[in-house]
């Protein structure tokens, strides 16, 4: 509409232009009236009445969704959370998928630390690990973009690229029929993110920080994904069994209304052990 009004011939443009403010006001009022006329949403709904098929699975949050809250709560030592050794690719596909998830999570930590060299190193490592599970092609562009944006210190853009790398890897794996392996990438990221969250909250405990661990539906979702794995071999993989046990052990700890400092430390110990198992050469 705007374009039609502004591209008319001279005389008509002269005729219409003075009407523009009034037309815009009318249009805005129209939107406002449409909004006001729309039925207000109910104050409460009965979620149990939603058939299972009408409920979409939870989207796994990216680590930075949690990290930026921690930033608001205090001044975490992000550099102290970065690892020198990002882990060893053992050639085991389940391990590579989990490891890739942890490395991408490290990318988010490096962004919080504003450490462009580390971000660049992580961008390269993502490429190497993606190669190990045949999805290198899917992340080449992302890897370059991560490096370029880290160089420019455009941290919000790096966050987006890391999120994008995660989606690209998962998408490429799903295309290859490896969607169960793709879940392990998400799980790896979540485990490393939770390790860092509990480390920071454990060092400077506050109930508000500990509340970030309240993720029951996400835990259920991950547990379901492993329990419903069609590939028996993948389900029996030592690391996958360990991750399933981790989810089982964590659930009662974070299901409580207030998560104590002791419980935060417990979750940190459990996730640290699992991250060590993922990054170890002994798989």
């Amino acid at each position: 509409m705007m374009r039609a009004l502004l591209t008319g011939n001279g005389p008509s443009a002269k005729l219409i232009f003075p009407m523009l403010p009034r037309l815009i006001t009318t249009a805005l009022c129209g939107f406002a009236v449409a909004n006001a006329l729309a039925e207000p949403p109910p104050a409460t709904i009965d979620l149990s009445k939603f058939p299972a098929a009408a409920v979409e699975d939870v989207v796994v949050p990216v680590p930075s969704e949690i990290f930026i809250v921690l930033d608001k709560l205090g001044t975490p030592n992000w550099k102290g959370e970065l690892r020198d050794n990002l882990g060893t690719n053992t050639g085991n596909r389940a391990q590579i998928a989990l490891l890739l998830g942890t490395v991408i999570a490290d990318g988010f930590i490096a962004v919080e630390a504003e450490d462009s060299e580390k971000v660049k190193q992580i961008g390269q490592e993502v490429l190497v690990l993606a190669d190990g599970i045949n999805v290198r092609k899917a992340v080449i562009a992302r890897s370059k973009s991560i490096t370029d944006k880290a160089e420019a210190k455009d941290w919000r853009a790096v966050r987006s690229e890391l999120d994008g790398a995660l989606q690209d890897v998962r998408g490429a794996m799903q295309e290859l029929g490896d969607d169960e392996l793709a879940q392990l990438v998400s799980l790896g990221g979540w485990i490393r993110g939770t390790q860092v969250l509990t480390s920071i909250v454990g060092q400077n405990y506050s109930p508000a920080g500990a509340e970030l661990l309240n993720q029951p539906e996400l835990l259920n979702y991950f547990a379901r994904r492993i329990d419903e794995m069609r590939s028996k071999n993948l389900k029996k993989e030592e690391l996958v069994v360990k991750v399933r046990k981790l989810l089982r052990d964590i659930k009662p700890i974070i299901g409580k209304e207030t998560i104590t400092v002791e419980n935060v430390q417990k979750v940190n110990k459990l996730t640290t052990d699992t991250v060590n198992a993922i990054t170890s050469e002994d798989q």
């Binding site: 409460t44 009408a54 949050p61 969704e65 930026i68 608001k72 970030l212 029951p216």
Partner: protein, 148 residues
Amino acid sequence: MNRRFLSLSPVRVLAALAVLCLTPLYATVDDALSFAHECAVPYVKQGFTIREDAWGGDLGVKDQKAVTAQLFKGNEYWFCMATDVKGAVINVHIYDSQGRLAESEAWQKGRFAAAKVVPKATGTYYAIVTIEKSPQERTHWALVYGYR
């Protein structure tokens, strides 16, 4: 320009009409997703980071879908929904795990709708998407969210 249009052969006109008629068949969730990203543009300018992950599908008129999201107290979120179907009216509202309306703002303008939530507690939330009306039997929709 108008004259050139009038001089088109009937075959060309028929072909153009056929393309126009077939267009809705090729409309996909990807198109709806592009509109959802368009809907989110003002929030990007306000510092929200839009997630690459998205939800989408197709629904009939008055059908609803509950989209589960893990949200964190301390963040602000905008959920942006869109459809590629011209003339459709959609909406999205956010509820907490107890089924209570949790959004602080919401708007709806035809094929676009959005809701903002500033979670009072960390936990599971549900974005309830609805196709209020549509000229089509099934309407593609897509939902993205941003956080800051």
